[in-house]
């Protein structure tokens, strides 16, 4: 009984978290971006660790919970739409965006929780990660995640491809003003 209650709260919390991340911006988000952005929040906010776990994977930190929630939500049914990746796309994992029902639900939940002092830092964190990382391409995102959290990297063809392209990707990020010269050098030299 006790465990059921805990599982329900965990499921609900995780679905709400996914909804809050997706609703923080209007654009659709790749599953890869969603997973890595939630991972950064997982490192930032201790409360999130209660809802989700990450393991090392060939695409960096991986969460089976997020995959499950995207495809089979329990509480927030029809709140987001999943579009599978193109046949040639082996990185994104597909794309997710909120439906109209999801946007209404986002507004409702945001209004309800945004007055609570302890939740405000998490809401700020969600906006920050979307503002910072949405603009990175899939490969750019993988490069900086592999570099920052090498302990979550499982060697594979994907990581080898990124390794081969790292100078090109780092240069592109520097040109776009996403990283500075020093970070560029670190990414290329490692």
């Amino acid at each position: 009984m006790m465990d059921d209650k805990k599982d329900d709260a965990r499921q609900k919390g995780l679905e709400n978290l996914v909804l809050l991340v997706l609703g923080a911006k209007d654009d659709e988000l790749s599953v890869l971006h969603l997973e890595k952005e939630v991972f950064l929040l997982w490192n930032f906010h201790p409360a999130i660790r209660e809802y989700i776990s990450y393991i090392k994977h060939y695409k960096g930190p991986y969460s089976a919970d997020i995959q499950k929630i995207i495809h089979h939500p329990f509480y927030l049914d029809n709140c987001w739409k999943y579009t599978p990746p193109a046949r040639t796309d082996n990185l994104s994992g597909g794309f997710v965006e909120l439906t109209e029902k999801g946007r209404n639900e986002y507004q409702r939940i945001y209004r309800a929780i945004s007055k609570t002092e302890s939740v405000k830092p998490l809401l700020t964190g969600i906006k920050m990660v979307r503002e910072l990382y949405d603009k990175l391409s899939l490969e750019e995102l993988l490069l900086i995640i592999y570099d920052t959290y090498p302990e979550y990297k499982e060697h594979s063809t994907v990581s080898r491809d990124i390794e081969v392209k790292k100078e090109y990707l780092a240069k592109r990020m520097r040109t776009k003003g996403i990283i500075d010269d020093q970070r560029f050098n670190e990414l290329v030299m490692r």
Binding site: L40, T124, E131
Partner: protein, 197 residues
């Protein structure tokens, strides 16, 4: 209601160590509310960190927003404890949920980082010299004489440091001195004389 400001360590070091004008800093802190995080607190000169009045005025914040920008910033030993990115995170948080008047960042890379990544902070972003000018000419919170006094101290200190090759007081280098500090002094003088030169 006091307005919220987030400043990088260099702003506090400027008044405490470079200019030795703690009273000017405390004067600002009595007017605006300054917020700092753990990293910036650790970087403060001990004399300031232990000052009772400073501690009673400053608002300490604990949220580790720096974790969220980590993948994008350099993690070399030299920059490991830089508080600029902590300051940016706190400023973003205040701007989202409360209010933010200014984010004062002198360091060029962090200043550009904020400008590039956070459009909502662009209008709030300033440097130590710009802050004094805005506080006098826009907010009309400090007098022209006080602003000129601070600028004169910065000017003198820069000239002394240049002669002795001692570094950059208040993050002022030759370019900032000629392109920002001196013109700002003139602007304040003109404003004080109601537009008369």
């Amino acid at each position: 209601m006091p307005e919220n400001i987030v400043a990088d360590t260099s702003f506090f070091v400027c008044y405490e160590s470079d200019l030795k004008k703690r009273t000017c800093l405390l004067n600002f802190m009595n007017i605006y509310t300054f917020h700092i995080g753990e990293k910036i607190r650790r970087e403060l000169p001990l004399s300031l960190a232990n000052c009772k009045e400073f501690c009673s005025l400053v608002k300490d914040r604990e949220e580790p927003f720096i974790e969220l920008v980590k993948p994008l910033i350099s993690r070399s030993e030299r920059h490991k404890n830089d508080g600029e990115y902590e300051a940016i995170g706190i400023a973003y948080h205040l701007n989202e949920h409360y209010s933010l008047k200014y984010l004062i960042i002198d360091e060029k890379v962090a200043h550009n980082f904020t400008y590039t990544h956070f459009p909502t902070l662009q209008g709030k972003l300033t440097r130590s010299i710009g802050f004094v000018k805005k506080s006098c000419m826009e907010d009309k919170i400090i007098s022209h004489n006080m602003a000129l006094h601070i600028f004169n101290c910065m000017k003198r200190r820069f000239e002394e440091y240049s002669k002795e090759n001692k570094g950059r007081p208040c993050s002022i280098d030759g370019k900032v001195y000629s392109n920002i500090l001196i013109p700002s002094m003139k602007e304040i003088e003109v404003d004080r004389n109601n537009g008369r030169l």
